[in-house]
Amino acid sequence: MNKAIEHYLLRLADTALTQSQRIAEWCGHGPFLEEDIALTNVALDLLGHAKLLYEQAAEVSEQDVSADDLAFLRDVDAFKNPILTELPRGDFAFTTLKQYFVDQFNVLLYQALMDSQYQPLSDIATKALKEVRYHLTRSRDWCLRLSLSTDEAKQKMQAALDDLYFYTPELFETDDQLNQLMAESIIPDMSALHNQWQQQVDELLNKCQLKTPTSGWLATGGLRGEHSEHLGYMLADMQFLQRAYPGCEW
C-alpha cells in the first residue's frame, strides 16, 4: 500500500519538477518583461508542489531519504513523469500549449484529489488547486491570443499542437499500483478524468480554430521509467552539483 502511494507521489512530484524546470528556463529570456515574471511565478508554484510531494514521498518511503535525494539522486529510469513534461521548452507557442495541457490536467486532477481517502494528498491538492487554477486562466488566454491573432502565431500554435498532441494521453496512463489506488479511492478514476480533460481541450482547441492531428507517435512509458532522450540531459544539468560533490550540505 505505502509502496503504491510512494509510487504515485513520485509520479506527481516528478511531473511537477520537470515541468517547472522547463518553465524556469524562460526566466531572463521571456518574450517581454511582464511575461518573464509571470512565467517564473508558474515555475515557482510548480516547484513548491514538487517539494511538498517529494517530502510526502520521503515520509512514506521505507528508505531513509530526503526530498532532495529523491529529486537529485535518482536516474532517468527511476523518474515517473510523463514524457510530455520533459520535452524541451521549444518556442513560446510550444511552451504555452504544453502548459495549457498540463494546467487543464492539474486542475481536474487536484479537484478530484481533494476527495482522496489519503489525507496528505488531499491536503496538497487543496493548496495546489488555487495555484493551478490561476495557471489555467493564463494559459487558456494565451492559447486564444496566439491562435486568433497573426498568421505567424497561428502557424506556430498549429505546429505546437501537431508536435504535442499525442504526448497527452500518457498523462492518464495507469499501472497495477495506480489501479489499486483508484480502487481504494485514493486517486480518481483516470479514464473518467481523461474524458473530462478531452472535453475541455476539444472545446478550447475548437475556439482557437486549431486542427488536432490524426496520427503521430503515441507517447507511453514514463510511469515505468521509460523516457525520451531529453530527460537524461535535464537530469545531468539539474543534478550536476549533487553528483559532482556527493554528500555535501548546500
Binding site: F32, L33, E34, E35, I37, A38, T137, D141, R145
Partner: protein, 90 residues
C-alpha cells in the same frame, strides 16, 4: 503594447492605491500582469488597471491657483473653534 497604471487595495477596508505601471495588450492581460508583478509578496487583495492614456490630470502649472486658495480657509477645521475646558472633548 499599451501602458497601464496599476492600483492595488492592500487589504479590505483600504482604498486602492497607485503602485506603478506596466505594459499589456489589453485590460485582461494588464490585470494578470499586475497580479504577477505587483502582488508577489501579499501586497494586495484587489487590483484596478487603467490605461494610462485614459487618465486626465490637473496641470502643475496651475497648482497655485488651484490649491493655494484652500490654505486660508481655517474655519473648515475644528481647531478654529476654541471651546471652554468643560466641554472641549466635543
Amino acid at each position: 503594447m499599451k501602458l497601464y497604471e496599476v492600483f492595488i487595495r492592500a487589504k479590505s477596508g483600504l482604498n486602492h492605491r497607485h503602485v506603478g505601471s506596466l505594459h499589456a495588450a489589453d485590460a485582461q492581460m494588464a490585470l494578470q500582469n499586475a497580479r504577477d508583478v505587483y502582488t508577489r509578496r501579499e501586497e494586495g487583495v484587489s487590483i484596478w488597471v487603467v490605461e494610462a492614456a485614459a487618465i486626465s490630470a490637473s496641470n502643475p502649472e496651475q497648482s497655485e491657483e488651484w490649491f493655494d486658495p484652500a490654505m486660508d480657509k481655517v474655519y473648515r477645521y475644528p481647531t478654529f473653534y476654541p471651546l471652554d475646558k468643560e466641554v472641549d472633548n466635543m
